[in-house]
């Protein structure tokens, strides 16, 4: 079972992911923005970080860069609502900056658990 940090500014999204992940037997810590997420990541040892890309205070891309600076090995799963807008492909950017997998909202239980498996296998 994995200890997972989930960062998203959308409360409903956080709740949904916690439901899916805890059903699957994982432990979940959530953060409502990038700043809080980064603080938690520094304070605890997580097996995986799931982060939204479009958030207040700290954009997902910036958060990924800073996590990677601190820990080059921790698996990161990037998720995004529209994924792409205004010529900016956030998920592509996330990949480039160190995300191990990406996932577009809305996704199903299976989608998330599959992506989780991919991330943890890479790590393994």
């Amino acid at each position: 079972m994995a200890h997972i940090l989930v960062i998203d500014d959308e409360e409903l999204s956080l709740f949904t992911m916690r439901e899916i992940l805890e059903e699957a037997g994982h432990t979940v810590v959530t953060a409502g923005d990038g700043m809080a997420g980064l603080a938690l990541q520094g304070a605890q040892a997580f097996d995986l970080v799931i982060t939204d890309m479009v958030m207040p205070h700290k954009e997902g891309v910036q958060l990924i860069v800073e996590i990677r600076e601190r820990d080059s090995r921790i698996p990161i799963l990037a998720i995004s609502g529209s994924g792409r807008s205004r010529n900016t492909d956030f998920l592509e950017l996330a990949r480039q900056h160190g995300a191990n997998a990406v996932l577009t909202k809305p996704f199903s239980e299976e989608d998330l658990l599959n992506a989780l498996a991919v991330c943890l296998e890479t790590d393994g």
Binding site: T16, E19, G81, P106, E109
Partner: protein, 830 residues
């Protein structure tokens, strides 16, 4: 005797007639202008008392007085010049003087002079000492010593007649008389009167004349005129006769010779020669006398008549002279003051007259031109041309008028030259009269005017606007070609004089067109930038942006109207396209934002409802309900996906793709899915080319278009035809596609035989979420997405539709150059 007298009288009468005829001729000659009423008389300086000079230099003497008296009697004014014999004689020959008062006759002199009758017969006489014996005849002197002046006529006479072998010669008369007075000799032969005067002047005593008068001096002295001056000769002869008759002659004789010859025999002698001349004729002499008397009267009468005639003539001449002078003055003033250059040239081209203006053109004074030729002042190429013209005028006698440009010293001038032959009084062409008007200013003004008119015309023709102007009665007064074409007229002139009622299709249209004209004319109001519609010949409607303005005269009265208009149909269409594109973009941006938010919300709905559905008991109402939530959230997710596809701007990497194969793939997919009522066909031209595109998006376009068309059939059988072709859009064609650049394009056109799109909504079919389908049938993103994709590929979409006939949608994608396509293919192979 009687008979012979009668015959003689008859002859005399005939002779008189002839003579009178001659006389008429002579008198007529007297009227000749050469016979002046003023004559110049040359008198000798030292031949006293006949001719001498007073102390104050005036001519005096017997002959001078006679000439004065004769002149006075004949109404001639005589002025006297004095000189030696040689001088005055030469002056007469040259014609400087007209008459000499004292010339003795000789054969030699008659060759150069004509003589009047002698007025003085200078007889010689023998002078003796009182103590010496008288002589009866010259023959008595045979053995006597005779003193005589050397070379004097008396000397000649003595030698010729062999009077005496004893002659004593002196150089002067006084010397001869002094010898006599001194008692050295007894006799002197000398001119009688001169001798007497000399003796008196010298105060020599005891000298007297003796014996007969001797004709030693021939015919004596007369007046002489130049040979051939018969008129003056006749006048002088007549005058001599007059003064003899009036006693004037005797008075003069008395004055000069009275002291020595109180009796004055010369009054008898004066006609002696005439009497001698007539003595031989006898009775005829009498006739001649009568004839002379008659002639005399005729001459006097005639003279009076002539004098009157002369006076009359003189006053007429004076009057004519005044008239001519007046005319000349006026003519001179006209020529001098003329603003035209006026000149006269002789046949050789030399100027014989030129006014100030003519000279000024050449930078000269008029007198500088006289005697010179144009070649002296003007450029040779012009002169040779001008001389040719002048020759033609002289040869043909035809005046010419024409314009030419001349390079004068004062600069290049344009002139209008009128040249006409100059003829003498007999009509012979003796030169050329020229009048040259400087029309440079007028010409330049005309040229300026033409240039201005052309400029104005160019402007009117060049501006993109149609322009026309109308009279108050709304007839067209003028227009440019664009305005004429607006009425399908080839020539601008075709519009002039017509009204809208002549041109419009119907009265209603004409009324519509002229309604505003009336406002402009009647109220003097300018209507600026209003839009109105014009029905074109092809039935389409053109939109004009027009302004109509009153035209006013100087007093401000409205005389008509000016209209300029611009066909803004294309611009409006382009603006519409642009607005549509902008609206689509804005909507896309909005839709993208909404989609993002919706996806966030759909995550819990879809994921949690699926989890709940899975865990709900099988066949329970909860599971069914949850399955419906899942279905709805999936549909919602699909809509959001479509919206995102539409709003996505550059979501995927474009590559060079072959248009035909991409479209081909899409149609294969469609063939499997289209319902059976749809007869789907593909018409694909070969060699379309490649586009830089996201191939899945091209496929989306094809799928959306065909799906829309299939749905437009509404289940009824019908055709859906997809065609793919290639076309070049040049700069002109692109005007209808403001969003496109000129170049090669691939065109995907899909048409159907469906219900068509109502005109009132055709403008909105490209808008996102616009749909004609029943709620639930579609979300209205099909064409909006096609439009978004086309725009993203620098392409364009056009929709054509006729209700109940069908719809056609054309989508344009720019083709890449063959080179670009080749390079891309080779790179792809690497």
């Amino acid at each position: 005797m009687n008979r012979s007298m009668l015959a003689l009288a008859k002859r005399a009468a005939v002779f008189l007639g002839v003579a009178a005829g001659f006389l008429w001729t002579f008198v007529a000659l007297a009227d000749d202008p050469n016979s002046r009423s003023l004559i110049v008389v040359g008198s000798e300086t030292d031949y006293p008392p006949y001719a001498l000079v007073s102390k104050d230099g005036r001519a005096e003497g017997f002959s001078v007085d006679l000439m004065k008296a004769v002149s006075e009697a004949m109404g001639i004014e005589a002025v006297f010049k004095v000189g030696t014999w040689d001088e005055v004689r030469a002056a007469l020959e040259r014609g400087v003087i007209d008459a000499l008062p004292l010339v003795s006759y000789s054969k030699e002199r008659e060759k150069i002079f004509d003589f009047t009758m002698p007025h003085t017969v200078a007889d010689a006489v023998v002078f003796k000492r009182r103590q010496a014996p008288d002589i009866e005849a010259v023959g008595n002197l045979r053995d006597q010593t005779i003193v005589v002046m050397r070379s004097d006529a008396a000397h000649d006479w003595l030698v010729r007649n062999d009077v005496s072998g004893k002659l004593v010669l002196t150089d002067t008369l006084p010397e001869a008389f002094r010898l006599l007075a001194a008692g050295k000799h007894d006799y002197v032969l000398a001119p009688r009167l001169v001798g007497l005067l000399t003796v008196r002047e010298l105060g020599l005593p005891g000298i007297e004349t003796t014996g007969p008068l001797i004709d030693a001096y021939g015919r004596g002295y007369g007046f002489a005129v130049k040979k051939g001056n018969t008129a003056l000769l006749l006048k002088l002869n007549e005058g001599l006769r007059v003064i003899k008759e009036t006693g004037r002659y005797d008075a003069i004789y008395e004055k000069w010779f009275g002291v020595v010859d109180r009796k004055g025999p010369s009054s008898e002698l004066i006609f002696r020669y005439v009497l001698w001349a007539s003595a031989g004729i006898g009775v005829v002499g009498g006739v001649v006398f009568v004839w002379i008397a008659i002639l005399h009267r005729i001459v006097r009468r005639r003279t009076a008549e002539l004098r009157n005639a002369r006076d009359d003539l003189e006053s007429r001449v004076a009057e004519r002279t005044r008239e001519l002078e007046n005319k000349n003055f006026v003519l001179d003033a006209v020529i001098t003051g003329s603003s035209n250059a006026v000149f006269v040239k002789d046949r050789d081209g030399r100027f014989i007259l030129a006014n100030r203006r003519a000279a000024r053109n050449l930078g000269l004074e008029p007198e500088d031109m006289i005697g010179r030729k144009a070649a002296d002042f003007l450029p040779p190429e012009f002169v040779s041309k001008m001389e040719k013209e002048d020759r033609a005028i002289i040869e043909t006698g035809i005046a010419t008028e024409g314009e030419e440009t001349i390079r004068y010293k004062i600069g290049e001038r344009i002139v209008r030259a009128f040249k006409t032959p100059y003829r003498d009084s007999e009509g012979n062409i003796i030169g050329i009269i020229g009048i040259v008007r400087d029309i440079t200013e007028r010409k330049r003004a005309e040229q300026d005017l033409v240039a201005q008119r052309q400029l104005l015309d160019t402007i009117i023709e060049t501006i993109p606007h149609g322009i026309f102007w109308k009279n108050r009665d709304l007839t067209y007064a003028g227009c440019n070609s664009k305005a004429a074409r607006n009425w399908y007229l080839e020539k601008r002139e075709d519009l002039i004089g017509k009204t809208a009622f002549d041109l419009a299709r119907d009265r209603v249209e004409a009324e519509l067109l002229t309604a505003r004209d009336r406002v402009v004319i009647d109220e003097g109001k300018a209507l600026i930038n209003f839009e109105d519609n014009h029905l074109r010949a092809d039935g389409t409607v053109a939109t004009h942006l027009s302004s109509k303005l009153p035209l006013r005269d100087a007093a401000g009265n409205v005389t008509g109207l000016l209209c300029i208009f611009l066909d803004i149909t294309d611009r409006l269409a382009a603006e519409k396209q642009l607005r549509q594109a902008q609206r689509a973009k804005a909507l896309g941006s909005l839709a993208g934002g909404i989609a993002h938010e919706l996806n966030n919300l759909l995550l819990p709905i879809e994921a949690l409802s699926k989890m709940a559905e899975k865990r709900a008991p099988e066949n329970s109402p909860e599971r069914l309900r949850l399955s419906k939530i899942v279905e709805a959230s999936e549909r919602a997710a699909e809509i959001v996906h479509q919206i995102l596809t539409f709003s996505r701007e550059d979501d995927e990497e474009k590559s060079i793709v072959d248009m035909a194969s991409v479209v081909g793939e899409a149609t294969r997919l469609l063939n499997a899915t289209l319902p059976s009522n749809v007869a789907f066909r593909c018409q694909q031209a070969s060699g379309i080319g490649a586009v830089r595109a996201v191939s899945s998006q091209i496929q989306t376009v094809v799928v959306n278009l065909v799906t829309n068309s299939a749905e437009a059939l509404e289940g009824r059988p019908g055709d859906v035809v997809l065609s793919l072709d290639r076309l070049e859009l040049d700069a002109d064609a692109v005007r209808e596609f403001p969003e496109l650049q000129p170049g090669p394009y691939a065109r995907i056109a899909v048409r159907d035989t469906g219900k068509g799109i109502p005109p009132d909504i055709i403008d909105r079919v490209l808008d996102p979420f616009f749909t004609t389908k029943e709620a639930g049938d579609g979300i209205g993103m099909g064409l909006a997405t096609v439009h978004a994709i086309a725009t993203r590929h620098d392409g364009a979409v056009r929709v054509f539709s006729k209700p109940e006939t069908g719809t056609r949608v054309d989508v344009y994608f720019p083709l890449v150059s063959e080179r670009e396509a080749l390079v891309s293919v080779s790179l792809g192979q690497d």
